[in-house]
Structure formats: C-alpha cells, structure tokens
Symmetry: C2
Subunit: 242 residues, 2 copies
C-alpha cells in the first residue's frame, strides 16, 4: 500500500474476481475496501475478504450490514439464505456453457446498490475512483456486470454528486471487463493473489471448520474451468462429487 | 389504497415533499413506502413517515437501517448527527434566496443510494414504478434533486436490472420536479395531506414530548415561504426566535 497514492474505494466480496481487483488497485491506490453482508448464502466469503484486505494492507475495510435487503428480495433470487429458490447445480461432467439468460442467482439491483454505497464513501473521503471486479465474458449473465451498465452508472454518478457538479467526477475502474476467467487468474497470480483464500461458490458446504465449494454451481464451473485453461493448479477445496 | 392497482415503491422521508408524493401515488398505486434511518439529525421525521404511511393505507412500509452510512460520510455533511459540521442558520428577517452552490447539508450520493435500494425492492415485488419527491425549483441546490439526475438514474436502472433487459423497465415518477414549494403545498392540501404531521427541519429541537422546527435552516425557510405563498395556514411548530 502506497501511503501517498490517491485514495480509491474497492468493492471486495472475497471472491476470485474482486480479490484480483484488490491486488491491482493496491499497486496504484490507497485502498478503502468495501464489503456487504446482505444475507448471501456464501457469507463465508466475508472472512476471505477480511483476510485479503489485511494481506494487501488496505487503509480501511468496511463491512456493511444489509441483511434487510436480503429479506426484501428473497422471493426474487436464489442467492440469499432466506430464499425459497435453490441454486441451480449441474452434473460435474457437463461442460460450462455460456448462460443465455439471466439466472435465478441474479440479485435485483445489487451492483447498483453496492456502487451507490461506494459512491457515498468515495465522495466523503475524496477518492479518485471506485474499482469493481465485474466482467462480461466468463460470467453468469447478470445485467449489472456489463460495461454498458458501468458506463451508465458513471454518468449517473457524475450528475448525483458534488464532485461531478464541480467538474472532477469520481472515476470507475472495471479492469476485468474484457478478460476471460483464465486471464483474470493469470493476472492475479502475477500480482501475488492467494486464490486458496478466495471463495466463488454460491452455495458452499460447511465441513467442520472448513468450507467446501459445491463444485457444481455456475460460479464453481467457471472458476474450475478458468484454472484449467490458465494452467494454474486449482487450490479450491471442492466437496466430493455425489 | 386500491388493492387492484399496480404496485409502486414510494420514497418517504416524512417531510413535506415526500408526503405529498405519497398522497399522489396512493390514488393510482398499491404503495410500498420506503424510509431510511441513516443517522440524520432529523430522524424524528421517521415517526411522521410511519403515521403518514398508515394514514394513506400503504400495502407495506419498510424503514431501512443505514446508520453505517451516516458514520462513513459524517465528515462530509452537516445533516448527520455524528457530523462535526453545523447546519447553517439564517436570521429570521433574512429572505430565503436561491442557493447558488451546494450547501453543507448535501449528503454524498444519498438519492442514488435510496433509489438503488428502491430499485431492488421494486424489482422483487414487480412494481410498475418508483416515486420520489425531488424538486428542482424551491430546493436547496442538491445535485441529486435535478431532473437530469433522475433521468440518468432511470437509464442506469434499465441496464442494471432483469426488468430492463427483458424490455419492461421500472419507471421513475418525480411529480414535484417542476413545482414551486407553494404549488406542492396546494397540491398536497387538495389531496388531503395533514402537513402538521410532516417535518422539513434539518435540525429540529426537542421540547418535552414535542419537536419544534428551528425555523432558520434552509429547509424551514423554504417551507415557511411556501405556506405563505400558497395562502395556507402554516401548521408547523417553530421554536421561538432567539
């Protein structure tokens, strides 16, 4: 962490993508990491986020409690604990295919909300920019991961804030936008990311004091394929195939 | 409340503007009212919001706890309780003038965050639209009250959500946008709003079990002038001039 660098807010879930962004941002910014507990099934990711934030020497790390959000949207997404919907699983032999429609793990307006919270903090600390690990190639078909969403958010943010009105709008960096999953893994590996301490699984399984990735949700499949294509040993602890 | 009407999310602070919007929306929508406790000095407004929601027979009213936000932005706005900054006051004899710059009571990215939360709820309940009481004439110079901000937010929301991608984006209604304060008061009066049970003051004063408006902040001045111009008796309980 460079104490003289400009400040930035980095959205950090504790997953593979956002931890890679944390590593990249840390080279250029005084990082203020921001995480959310919104009732996600995989809230164990926040322990990874905490350790990764420490590892990269961030200036601050805030975990925002948004459990109320999870309750309000529980009927519309499988990703929160209180949802009656199940996270879709696939046979391990089935090859990951591009998702052609928005899956049930989409959380309504999640990235708009997370970025808005980041925007408030960024303006309060006079940050140069906000970093987010969205990518639009090997992803799950979420509308709020597309570059056109990020661009529209930046336009809105310029109009919403004092900073925008005063002519030095807060920037938005989505450095993974045009990378495939294996390229993200290669980038993070070159930046010293310990992927063993990241979680991508939407539906992890507790086993004693360890957590195992299910290996069969969309996110696990994309991650596993990414390590394979990158030629990097996959450090993920998967549950035994049933 | 019309049980067969389309659902809508209405942002309800408990102030004069949002209560007027609540009254207007209630004629056409099954209202889901949404309020926020973010550490504002005038959190007493939430009791007004609760009573107004009941009075207009809303289908649901949620008060979201965002105290963490108030702590993060306390250095950048006078409007939150934990801020070291003071709410600016004016001599009662001084006529309210248009604010030419953004005042210290601006809360970073507040409307972007509130609208994003509303967007999540609106998508989860399949609401037709989101209603907000921003207005750009007799207001305090906040960037996130301008029609161009609301329009940019709507564009972003269309790209952020399943609803937008599927071609039936959630709408945004800001029916007070082009009204002066006295016109808002006239509208609300015609819709049966009890303005005695709304609070606009940024810095209200507790007096026993009552709350008095300071009478000298920007918001009190705009409100007082509005009642005067509307020719409606001002039911506000102001603190005695010091």
């Amino acid at each position: 962490m460079n104490a003289d660098a400009p400040a930035a807010v980095v959205l950090l879930s504790g997953g593979l993508d956002s931890t890679t962004v944390l590593a990249a941002a840390s080279r250029q910014r005084r990082v203020h990491a921001l995480s959310f507990r919104y009732g996600q099934r995989h809230a164990v990711e926040l322990a990874c986020a905490r350790r990764q934030a420490t590892r990269f020497g961030v200036a601050a790390h805030e975990i925002v409690e948004l459990g109320h959000l999870g309750r309000l949207v529980a009927g519309a997404t499988a990703l929160v604990e209180s949802s009656p919907l199940a996270v879709p699983k696939h046979a391990p032999s089935e090859r990951a295919a591009p998702v052609s429609e928005i899956p049930v793990t989409y959380v309504p307006a999640r990235n708009a909300l997370f970025l808005s919270y980041a925007l408030a903090w960024a303006e309060a600390i006079d940050a140069a920019d906000i970093w987010i690990g969205t990518n639009a190639l090997d992803y799950s078909g979420y509308p709020d991961c597309r570059p056109e969403f990020i661009a529209a958010f930046a336009t809105m943010a310029g109009l919403a804030t004092r900073r925008g009105v005063e002519g030095h709008a807060i920037g938005f960096e989505a450095p993974l936008s045009s990378l495939r999953k294996h390229e993200i893994i290669a980038l993070g590996t070159s930046l010293g990311v310990d992927y063993a301490d990241t979680i991508s699984c939407y539906d992890p399984i507790a086993e004693g004091d360890r957590v195992l990735a299910c290996g069969t949700c969309d996110s696990c499949r994309l991650r596993r394929e990414g390590f394979s294509l990158a030629g990097v040993a996959d450090p993920t602890r998967y549950a035994p195939a049933t």
